[in-house]
Amino acid sequence: MKYLFMCVFALLACASVATWNMLPTTQFKEPTIYWVTDPNPARVEQIAIFQRWLKKDPSRPEMRVLVDAANSRKEKKVIQGVSGVGGDTMDMAGGTDMRYFNAIGLIAPVTETAHKLGYDVSTTWEPIRPLIAQDGEQYLYPCNVAVRMLWVDYNQFDELNVERPPHRWDWDTFERIGREYVQKANEGKSHQDRFMLHSIDTETLYRSLGLACFDETLSFCQLEDPRYIKALEKKYQWMYDDHITPTAAEQSGFDVEAGYGGPQIFLFGQGNYAMFIMGRYSLIRLRQIQQARLDAGKPMMKLDVIEPPHGGFPTTRCNTRALGIYAGGKNIELAKTFQSYLASEDYNMQIVRDADALPPNPKYVNTLAWDKPLPLLPTQTEIIFPYEEDEKNLLSNFRIDFYEKLDKIDRESEWSLQKDLPRPPKPAKMSDEDYQKALAEFDALYMASMPVYKSEWGMHDRFTDLMENIALPGDITPYCVPETVSMEIKNAEDEYINNRATAKDAAKRAADRINAEIQRTLEENPDIKPQYEKARADQKKIDELKAAGKKIPASLIQNPFYLRYYKVQGMLEEEE
């Protein structure tokens, strides 16, 4: 028996050594860093582009990036992080995760390096800046930026002879169109299976009434306000009285697998929802749906994006998936190089083309490629047409020519690849036969997919417009864990939706519990008390100014929502 035991022991030891040798980090001679992110197939391409980007500048270090998609859950990141074995770089929901991770000390500040390598906060969208920096220190840089919009398929409205929703609409218009839509769409059915909108979050509703979850100094939850109660009642009304949006049971009743972006995109493509709310990244799946329709000979969806309905102050939410660097990592400098790549043209243009939300750097939306995405960018033509180094001018001329012609084509116009758009010239070393084959490949790709991409033209600028004008990040108080806030709000809303509390009681419950949580956090962490007390004193001044009908100095306000709201209302005193 003991010999058997020894054999098993030896076998396990050998297996351990073999496993160690097979680890990805030991496979490459260059240093390797891990990127803890979601299992999106686009990451493979993004890493391939990164490796190419590294080689463009000899001063950049040699390194490898490996995706770790198995540990992307927040709890895992925290536990591994405080145990000293966190991933070198980690994706996180900007704002909420940043504050929590930073409170723990898990993420390294990058302000100085970001400034040096050209990826400081000024290079990204303004509304996103509070989500990647805290107390003047930058911690993250966006991988992408999402602004929540209503996706609409106009065909569904046209078919039923219902008025198309306008780009900006108030609650009354929403209700009028919604009621008509659901009535006509479900006529004669035993149960309702078509809804105008998948769902809408309460925060967007109450913010459009001029209320934020927290006050101007983020020190007090004010959800007991009648405007929150009104938002809750509207949500209930649209679900249970008007049937414009489905109840939770109706949503789960559709019984479809989620897939990337959630089941609502699939159900939107099926016609169960005429609209759904999500960021630009929905296009990743919408393109597949459009392509499938095209291949099946079905009419394509007439897509557009519009604003969520408002109660007086048009607004929507934005957020970011941002990259942070593990403070306990062994390769912090390499991780910073990878972080700086997110601000590069190479990375941003990949986001632009792939439609994985908005690029981190807004300057890349001022391109033709942004408004008129293509199945294969001219930059990628090198893959089909391998040009020699001295022929690169051919390629650049082709690009210029291509975009000049492309500019003249719009979403509605007829076009032909041969007549209206140029095709890449022949590389010198390519045989005629191979060139013809490459052209055929190029043509086939364009002809098959171009209609799908063309159906989006003209609407990408709306994302930019809304990001710059009405999008705002969610409220995040520094005085308690964001998850606790969302959990309390969800519980209170569930109580109301399940008829276990009135809207007023639910609102009071949410506010009371969140404020109690703030007090508990202050007790547990007295270090933040002075900051809190200052915030309360500032809030008192703000309340006095509001009561007197005077303008409020911007320096007193910490809540980004109120900075925008008061500015629009003409109540903000902007200082130098």
């Binding site: 049937h243 109706e250 789960s252 306990g328 569930d494 399940n498 547990e524």
Partner: protein, 505 residues
Amino acid sequence: MSTKKNRTVRELATGLGFLTPNILGFLTFTTIPLIFSMIMAFSNWDLKLHNMFKPEASPHFVGIENFQRLLSNSDFYKYLGNTLFFMMNIPFTIGGSLICALLLSKDLRGGSKKSALMIIATAILIASCIMLTLVGMGASAMTILVCGLGCTFLVGGALGGSTVYRTLFYLPHFTAGVATYLLWKKLYNPISGPINQTLNPILKKVEVAVNATNSSVIQAGLWIAIIVIGAILFMGLKRLSTLWRDGDLGSRAIILPLFFLVLPSVMASQWFPIQAARYSIAIVAGVLLAVTLFMIITSKQEFDCKPGNGFGNALMFCLFMMVIQFIVTGLGIVAYNLPGMAEISIDNGVAVGGLSAPEWLTSYHWAKPALMLMGFWGAIGSNNMLLYLAALTNVPGELYEAADIDGASPFQKFWNVTWPQLAPTTFFIVVMAMIGGLQGGFEMARTMTNGGPAGATTTLSYSIYTEGFVTGRLGYSSSFAWVLFAMVFSITMFNWKFGSRYVND
């Protein structure tokens, strides 16, 4: 002598060598974390404030502050209530396991070849009829799939005998929890799930019938419920007083069973929708209880009995009666509300109201029973069934022979021979089920409902997880875990004290 000593030392070393990996594993992954969590429970350890990145701050001893905070937190009692609600499953799962074990202990392949063929042919015929009917009805693919699977089991069982069934019944236990939860999520789908697809046509027929009937006729069901509850209570009290009089039940042992027996009437007097019904049930229960107590106090026991004797039997009997009374109470309330529930109205062109199947996981009221039902399914074929199967083989055959000679009926044989012989196993299963029940519910809540809606399915174990890893309060979360341990320990001690008495009764 020296050789013998050397051999002993060598054997000891070998034994320790074998045991070392296990001991090390146990120390590293169980004992040390356990001690560590005990220390944490008395500290203010917060992941945000005390970790490797903040060497300047260290957690400090806060005494019983975490426990005080926990016990004054209303959420704790809510989650405890949820956990106890799920534990109401235990008697049913034990009963189910016992029934399964009794059935599976029979030799299904016994008898002549002719009868075996007859069984197989009948099973195939039944399965074919079911499938043809479903296909003809245009049932959903999911329903056909589930029923098809059921039919396969039926035919498979007829072909393979009890071995097939034993394997099938044990299947839920060795299938990964998350996989079965996802399957149940499909089953509970409010529109396309087989459960609601079966319930909806039935409910529609009931709806038509209810709408065609005078509402007062249906609402009379509430009064029938009062009569039935009164009758059950009468029977129960009569049985208790008889046991007491005959010296089978001690004067101290009667208190708790009596409480459980009367509890449904007390609750019904609060829950019934009309005042007259509330008063009626209160009067009926009050009079019956008063008469029984009067009889017990004024009469003498005919045989001597110790105050604590007969507790186990009386408790089991009264718990059973309590469950029946609660069911009747629920049915009475449903009968009263049925006409209102079946009413249909048209709102914005869409028909609303009427009877419809539950929204299961998304409804506050149904989410808990839905998870409970799923737990029941998983538990009947679990280790409990195996333990009962093993215990059944140990029941001496002579006892059954003696019962046969005495002319005992099958039920009498079960009640007087099998059940008492299974008492030690039942006791063990009850103890383990209670421990499991208090600690359980995490995977279920995490996968199916995320603890919602409105915390309806948040159990103590799920709450420990959220406190520890979502808010980062490790000290507080540990105190939660130790309070749970204290509860498990107390209940187990209670079981040992009173349960072992029941086993020996």
